[in-house]
């Protein structure tokens, strides 16, 4: 059983909703990443999504774009990200880590080399934003190495494709709650609930819902019907401007604590 499977199985038996925070690796600063990851766990994170900065984040809104730019300005590359995961693993061998990013950095690293190094570092899953199921043949070396390929589904996903996504899902299926970019603020909970229920009934993996989750109230609303809630832009926004690694970890705790409490109060 993989770390991701173990984590979701534990959540299920405890009747809890998973909390999946996203941070951009290298923002607010490279030295803050590992303490921040531990801070997220302390605040109740069940899975950590670590964003790999990319120069052309086509599917991201301004908050994550700017976080990426700040990280890139500090020279952050895929090699650094893997090193941070390895450092995190020295004291936490339980919390699953998913790298989220775009294909070109992995392409230049080399798929086979990346698969080997990512597993070695302790990465559990990879979500490539610009790699839909139809192109996922390129990620075969990653799957063969035991990494989960986290797939996305969205409100615009047509029925036929949705069935294929549910079938191919591994780790968890990430449901994008609306058709837009990360960090936007539109959410019609009723529609999402109905859609997610349908997907959960069929998907071969748990369903995490993200995009537009900003605070305890929206997280709780989503948590009513999802296996896990992903929270990204609002957290990244809160971390921007942190003055030290401690400050960043503190901000993460302060931000996530009420969300964790709201999810557990269900």
């Amino acid at each position: 059983m993989s770390r991701i499977e173990r984590r979701f199985a534990a959540l299920k038996s405890a009747g809890r909703t998973g909390l999946v925070p996203f941070i951009t690796a290298g923002d607010p600063s490279p030295d803050a990443v590992v303490p921040l990851m531990h801070g997220l766990v302390a605040a109740g994170a069940d899975v950590i999504e670590l964003g790999v900065p990319f120069s052309d984040p086509m599917a991201d809104g301004p908050v994550i774009q700017h976080a990426s730019e700040r990280a890139l300005a500090k020279g952050v590359g895929l090699g650094n990200v893997l090193a941070w995961v390895a450092a995190f693993r020295e004291t936490d061998n339980e919390t699953p880590i998913v790298l989220m990013g775009y294909l070109n950095p992995v392409e230049m690293y080399g798929y086979a080399a990346f698969a080997e190094d990512a597993v070695e570092a302790g990465v559990d899953g990879v979500l490539m934003v610009d790699c839909p199921l139809e192109e996922s043949h390129v990620l075969e070396p990653l799957r063969n190495a035991g990494l989960d390929q986290i797939l996305l589904a969205s409100p615009t996903t047509a029925e036929g494709r949705l069935a294929r996504l549910c079938e191919a899902a591994s780790g968890f299926l990430y449901y994008v709650s609306f058709a837009g970019i990360t960090g936007a603020a539109q959410l019609s909970t009723g529609e999402i609930a109905e859609r997610v229920a349908g997907i959960r009934a069929r998907a071969k993996a748990p369903v995490a819902v993200g995009f537009g989750v900003r605070d305890a109230a929206s997280a709780k609303a989503i948590g009513e019907f999802a296996d896990a809630v992903v929270i990204g832009s609002a957290l990244v926004d809160r971390l921007a401007g942190a003055t030290s690694a401690d400050d960043a970890a503190g901000r993460a705790r302060d931000f996530l604590a009420p969300i964790r409490a709201a999810l557990d109060a269900r």
Binding site: F54, A59, H66, V106, E107, D130
Partner: protein, 403 residues
């Protein structure tokens, strides 16, 4: 060379040109792209649509554009005959209008009321604003803040045509970032919005659709060359940024194996300096803007900033069909420097009375090199893809002249 039986058989149903192309986009865009593909597949075989497009190309764009024998230029060079496909004579002054007229018709057939576009130098933005005005569609053009600063006249031109020009301040604040921003708009507003991509890049069906709308350039040129010279050219050439004018010229000739095909990329200050935009000559296969193609990126896979005197060639990727043609050995891609392009610009101006766009001046420079390698009865066809009026200020500034 890979053995390809029919170059006109590409892309496949999934938008792949061999290993290049495809649909590398976020999940939210998969359905909108599928809808666009379905609409376009239906329209491109629909005689009524084809007739509509032909009418627009004839009466609005001013097609066919002539193939012109540049006799004084050829004589000056002292090699083969150089002939020019005069896309600079189209309405709005470049080949870009062939594509925007076509996509605007697709947009109307799909019931979309809002057009968005990205632009670098502003030529595609102007061509999009033009067709949107003509069809009474709302138009929003995304343009890098850096480009807005250096292309003020085109920004004003778009505004005169009723378009809203939105400055893009993310990333390098240039064309690639404008494309990212337009994609973000599209994914958010897809219900009423049609995204007119300006080059043969992006996810399927864009590389195919933009090529199809520009392929009239090569179809005309092929017929015109046969009619005027009784033969096909020995070699054809065009400048390659994203590659829409080039694929437009090349496509009709792809199965004429005796015709050599050469694309001229922007070598900027020289490929060895690193300040260039020669994705095919100096890049590696990667993934950018929705397709697999040759890209210019650093060791970490980050897309790098490119340089060319011509804003229209300043792009770190290239259309996937060009990547395919390069690897199949059917076309060659070479670099032309800023200085070589400017020299060709001046030579064409003085020998033929034509101010070429700086982009097209790269093709002229390459045509001159190719003509020198051939005997006097040889025939070199170059795509004069746009006129240079927009570049007069850039050229003056570069040469230290105050206007």
């Amino acid at each position: 060379m890979t053995d390809i039986a029919d170059f006109h058989a590409y892309p496949d149903a999934h938008g792949r040109f061999g290993e290049f192309g495809g649909i590398y986009v976020a999940e939210t865009l998969m359905e909108p792209l599928a809808e666009l593909t379905a609409a376009y597949e239906k329209l491109r075989k629909d005689p009524a649509f084809i007739a509509e497009l032909d009418r627009d190309l004839k009466y609005y764009v001013g097609r066919p554009s002539p193939v012109y024998h540049a006799e004084r230029l050829s004589k000056h060079v002292g090699g083969a005959r150089i002939v020019l496909k005069r896309e600079d004579l189209n309405h709005t002054g470049a080949h870009k209008i062939n594509n925007t007229v076509g996509q605007a018709l697709v947009a109307r057939h799909m019931g979309k009321t809002r057009i968005i576009a990205e632009t670098g130098a502003g030529q595609h933005g102007v061509a999009s604003a033009t067709v949107a005005a003509r069809m009474g569609l709302k138009c929003v053009v995304y343009m890098g803040a850096v480009d807005i600063e250096r292309q003020k006249i085109n920004v004003y031109r778009m505004r005169l045509l009723g378009a809203e020009v939105v400055p893009v301040t993310s990333g390098s604040k240039t064309l690639k970032d404008a494309l990212n921003e337009a994609m973000r708009d599209w994914v958010t507003n897809v219900a009423d919005t049609f995204y007119i991509i300006g080059t043969v890049a992006g996810p399927h069906p864009y590389p195919q659709m933009v090529r199809d709308f520009n392929a009239i350039v090569g179809r005309e040129a092929r017929e015109q060359t046969l009619e005027q010279f009784g033969r096909l050219p020995d070699v054809i050439t065009a400048c390659v940024g994203g590659g829409s004018n080039a694929i437009g010229l090349f496509h009709a000739f792809l199965n004429d194996r005796q015709v050599r095909i050469v694309g001229a990329e922007a070598a900027g200050e020289g490929i060895e300096t690193g300040r260039h935009a020669a994705s095919l000559a100096a890049g590696k296969p990667g993934v950018l803007h929705g397709n697999r193609t040759y890209v210019l990126s650093d060791a970490n896979g980050q897309i790098i900033e490119t340089h060319s005197v011509s804003a229209g060639l300043d792009y770190p990727g290239v259309g996937p069909e060009h990547a395919f043609l390069k690897d199949a050995g059917r076309a060659e891609y070479v670099g032309v420097t800023d200085d070589e392009a400017l020299e060709a610009f001046h030579l064409l101006a003085r020998t033929e009375g034509i101010l070429a766009a700086l982009e097209s001046s790269h093709a002229i420079a390459q045509a001159i090199k190719l003509a020198r390698e051939l005997p006097k009865d040889g025939l070199v066809l170059a795509n004069l893809s746009g006129r240079g009026d927009k570049d007069v200020h850039t050229i003056a500034a570069r040469e230290g002249i105050e206007l």
